[in-house]
Structures are given as structure tokens and as C-alpha cells.
């Protein structure tokens, strides 16, 4: 059962070339390369295929005419430019942001449960967004802004609670437990608000909570894209201390990492990534949680880049299924992407419990 990642490791130990190979391997892993090609292909496939298909020449015509400001192909131009491209791009960006956020939490706290959807960050975003929709009649960007504020507020609260007085050892576990508690309370807030809202507002809020790419627009893509352009370099900067933190807090400190500062920096970046993604596409269930374990199923060494790409692939695929496959099965009703990721994610989670992550691969790696 040769796994792709084992090939470089097979080089003879000790000789100078082996050292060089090992070092190069750290930067780009085969899985990351494969995903880096796969994700754009998925986006392209998403645009071309589905219940409304577009040919490649038509797509090129639509794009080039749009760039030159000429009138496009009637009907097709609208669907491609206003629906398909924004949905695919926003889905890929949000999936990548969720994947990075989840993988950062999971790596930093050394616990697969530690992802923003489990520890209450997504609940914070939902509660805040639903409050804005139900109590203040907010819509569009205002809801996204509310979600952002809610996610950051919860993160801050979790951080303060987890700093508690119980000695230094288990800060990670405390953070997870505090997050689960806060998440449960916020879910209650969401349900309370939904129960007292009128049916129209409630269905609007429900769509937002499920996570949908319907409202995808250039504006949302720009906001999320700009945020990621700041947050991803920050995360790259912090990935070095992150690798030391993986060895445990004490050893990381012994290696010269300022542990509290590195942890806070990583927490802020990871939460901001999840918050901006939630603001753009709603709290997509399980994406942050599953991106890294999914990648590790294939390559047990998979890291943040692979998690970002697998998150993007999952969201694009899930939305394609929700928008094009679900109507065939469900007599025409389209499913929001968050319902699909939830429906696919839950069984996958159970499967992970039965087959521990990368166990088979780990043995041969």
C-alpha cells in the first residue's frame, strides 16, 4: 500500500541528497499539488455543468465580452456572471477559509474536536446574525457584519474563560470545553429568536443559519478575498510557532516560543478566518471540522495548505450537489450548501470514529 508521500522518504537515510529531499518535501506535498489542480477544475466544472450547462467557447465569449463591456449572450451571460461564477468563487474561498481555520485550531489544540463549528465560534456568528435579522430587520451586508462581530466576541469570551486558574497544562482542553458551553447557550438564543419571529423573517434567518451561497455577489467575494489576503500571510508567519506548539506547550516554550502570545495570535487569525467565511456564506456545517481530517485520510502528513484546498473542494462539490443533484432526487427543491455539508459531514465524522484518522496510511508513511 504505497502512499504517495512515502516515496521521498524511501531515499537512503543519512546521505546528503536524502537530507535535501526531506527538506524540499516539507514545502509542497503531492496531495497539496493534486488538490491545487483539482480545486480550479472543480470550480470550472461547477460553472460549465449542472442543470444549466455552458460550453467552454460560450464561457470564454461571456467572460471576454464582459471584460470588454460588450453585451453578452442573452440568458447565459446572466446565469454565468450573476450566479455560477460568484457561487463557485465564494464557495471556494469560504471553504478554504473554513478549512484553514479548523486546521489551525485542531493543530494548535491537538484535538480534532477543536474546530470553530464545535467550539462555539460559528454559534456566535449565527446568534448575532439571527439577532440582527429578527430584532433589527437587518439584511445583506449588515447581517454579515453582525456575524463577524458575534464570532469575534465569542472567541474573546472563550479565550478569557479558558485562561482560568487551573494551572498551565490543559489550556487547550479548557478552551474547547468553554467553547462547547458557550455554543450550547448561543444555540438556545438562536432557537428562542426563531420561535418568536414571524414566519417570513424566520425562514430568512433559517436560510442564513443553514449556510447558502445564494446571496453570493462580487461584494461578498471582495470582502472575504481581501480578508484572506491579510489573514493567510499572518497565518504563514504563525505556522512556525504552530509547529513548535504541536510538541506541547512546555517543549514549545523550551524551544523559544512565547506560548501565550503565539496562541493568542493563532486564535485571532483562525477565528477571523472563520468569522469572515461565515459572514460571506453562513456557518457551513462541518467544513472547518472536516477539512483537515479529510486531507489526512489521504496523506497523514497533510497540513494547512491541504486543509484549505480540501475545504474549498468540499464546499464547491457540496453546492453543486445541492443545486443540481438534489432537485433530481427531491422533486425539484434546491438544497442550501450548508445542509449538504451537514448531511455529508455527519456520516463522515462517524466513519472517522470507526477508522481513526490516517491510521492505515500512518503505518506505511
Amino acid at each position: 500500500m504505497p502512499v504517495p508521500s512515502t516515496t521521498p522518504g524511501a531515499a537512503p537515510a543519512g546521505s546528503a541528497p536524502a537530507v535535501a529531499v526531506v527538506r524540499r518535501r516539507k514545502w509542497v506535498r503531492p496531495l497539496t499539488l493534486v488538490l491545487a489542480v483539482l480545486v480550479p477544475l472543480l470550480v470550472l466544472g461547477y460553472i460549465l455543468l449542472g442543470s444549466y450547462t455552458v460550453t467552454i467557447p460560450d464561457l470564454l465569449t461571456i467572460i471576454s465580452r464582459n471584460l470588454q463591456g460588450e453585451p453578452g449572450i442573452p440568458g447565459a451571460s446572466f446565469i454565468v456572471l450573476e450566479n455560477k461564477i460568484p457561487r463557485a468563487v465564494l464557495g471556494a474561498l469560504a471553504g478554504a477559509a473554513f478549512g484553514l481555520s479548523g486546521a489551525t485550531f485542531q493543530t494548535m489544540l491537538r484535538n480534532p474536536l477543536a474546530s470553530p463549528d464545535v467550539i462555539g465560534v460559528s454559534s456566535g456568528a449565527s446568534a448575532s446574525a439571527v439577532t440582527a435579522i429578527v430584532l433589527f430587520g437587518a439584511s445583506g451586508v449588515a447581517v454579515s457584519a453582525a456575524a463577524l462581530v458575534g464570532a469575534l466576541a465569542v472567541a474573546l469570551l472563550i479565550h478569557l474563560l479558558s485562561r482560568g486558574s487551573l494551572g498551565g497544562g490543559n489550556a487547550g482542553l479548557r478552551l474547547i470545553l468553554a467553547g462547547i458551553g458557550i455554543g450550547a447557550a448561543l444555540q438556545a438564543v438562536v432557537q428562542f429568536l426563531m420561535a418568536r419571529a414571524d414566519i417570513k423573517t424566520a425562514s430568512e434567518a433559517l436560510l442564513w443559519i443553514s449556510g447558502s451561497l445564494n446571496p453570493a455577489s462580487g461584494e461578498r467575494i471582495t470582502v472575504l478575498g481581501l480578508a484572506m489576503m491579510v489573514l493567510i500571510p499572518a497565518l504563514m508567519w504563525l505556522s512556525r510557532p504552530l509547529r513548535a506548539l504541536e510538541l506541547g506547550d512546555d517543549l514549545a516554550a523550551g524551544l523559544g516560543v512565547n506560548v501565550p502570545r503565539a496562541r493568542l495570535g493563532l486564535l485571532l487569525v483562525a477565528v477571523a478566518l472563520a468569522a469572515f467565511a461565515t459572514a460571506g456564506a453562513g456557518p457551513l456545517a462541518f467544513v472547518a471540522f472536516l477539512a483537515l481530517p479529510l486531507a489526512r485520510q489521504i496523506d497523514p502528513h497533510a497540513g494547512l495548505p491541504a486543509a484549505a484546498l480540501s475545504g474549498a473542494a468540499v464546499v464547491v462539490l457540496a453546492d453543486f450537489v445541492g443545486a443540481n443533484v438534489a432537485p433530481l432526487l427531491l422533486g425539484g427543491s434546491v438544497l442550501p450548501v450548508g445542509i449538504v455539508t451537514g448531511a455529508l459531514g455527519a456520516p463522515f465524522l462517524l466513519w472517522l470514529l470507526v477508522v481513526p484518522a490516517g491510521r492505515t496510511g500512518r503505518k506505511v508513511a
Partner: protein, 270 residues
Amino acid sequence: MPQLDARNITLQYQDRAIVEDLSLTLPEGRITMIVGANACGKSTLLRGLSRLLKPARGVVSLDGKDIHARPARDLARELGLLPQHPLAPDAITVRELVGRGRYPHQGFFRSASADDDAAVHQALEVTGTLELAERPVSELSGGQRQRVWIAMALAQETDVLLLDEPTTYLDLAHQVEVLDVVTELNQRRGTTVAIVLHDLNLAARYAHYVVAMKEGRIVAQGPSQEVFTQDLVSEVFGLESQVLLDPVSGTPLIVPIGRHHSTRREEAHA
């Protein structure tokens, strides 16, 4: 070779002082063993010496400079620590793990260099783990794994190295092996080493200098022949014993008596 020195330090968690008003200078280029009963504060002392725990009072200095006044990464190039329960990430290989010991020598714009490769290679060689280099750490036995962690600490290339119970959970053969590796390191590079160790006989054998602790204070310190006496073992561990000469190393050999064998001793003396 920089000197690690603690002056009148008090170490506490919240308000509970574990170590009080303790002073200790680690002899340069030597192996110091810190021994004592459970909860005597020896691991806490190691945390205090290594910057993991800031003294409530007193100063720990390396080469005359307060270790808490220095940038963490600078200090980590001179002072290394292997804590009791280090964690290996999933699927990491031995070489990668040992390479992480190079953290304080690398920067964002300066990743792995030839120096790093050489340091990792040498650390693997000294600890006899070169042939395991490409294996995942999760597949190794306890003894192999502990050697790998020591290799990681060696790759950090510090002048002072602190080890917190590096032989716990190892069988006797592996305990001896780990301490042999540390001794070789000390001989080759002149690294100043401090080890918290439970096994008194191994401590006596491998130590140049022994520090015996009780209730957060140092009860005795010096060469093992001077420290390990029947009276001291009785005072520090509350254990009656006979101290013989280790026929292999010529160092003290502590033979515990216990309740069920005390009569034989009395008969022998009668």
C-alpha cells in the same frame, strides 16, 4: 560555557510555594542529578531553571544575565529543556521531529540550512537513531522514542540541557542506554546537564554532582559519594537503607531495607 545560576528563588503556583528561597549553581560542563521524593519540588525547580515558571522572588541567570530579561529565542539557543511529557504530532518522522529542535536557530525568512541538516544528522548519530530517521515516531518503541526526543534536544545545540525524568517508563536496559547517550554528549561537547531522576543508583552512577531535595529545599549537594549516605537517604526519602559500593562503577549503591527484611539486618548486626 555559560553558567546557569539560581539565586534565592521562590517558585509557586498561585499562592502555594513549591520551592522556597533556593540557590543553586549548576557546575559547568558536568552532569547534575536532582533527586528527591515525589512532590519535593524537583520538577518545579527544573521548570524554574528553564523559564517555564517565573520565580516569584529571586533570579535565575545564565551567564550572569536574568533569563527572563532575554528574548525567548536567544535563550533557547543556549538553554534546552526536555519536559516530562513531550507530544509527537501524528505521522511525524524521526528526522522531522529532531529537525524541530532547530526552531530557535531558524527564522521566517531563513528555514532549514546546511547547519540545521548537520546538527540534525549529528544528533541522530549521537543518539543512535540515524537508521530510524525516516520512520514515523508513532511506530517506535518507548526506548527508541525517548532517544529521539533526546536527539531533538541535542539538535537544539545548547550549552545547557535540562532533562525532566528522561527515563520514566523505560525498562532498565533503555534507562542505562539513555543515560549513556547523555554522558557521551556531556563528554563530547562539554554540555552542562541537569537531570531530574528517580532511580538513585543510576543517579549516583551517572552524576558528577548530586542535588538532594526535600520539601522545596536543597538538603544536600555534592559528589554522589558525599551525598548518598544512609542518613541522607533516610532523611530525604524516609527510607532505611544500606549504602554499599557499586561493584561496577565504584559509586554508592543504595539498597533499601523495607519492613519485611529488617530482621535479617538486625540478625546480621547481632
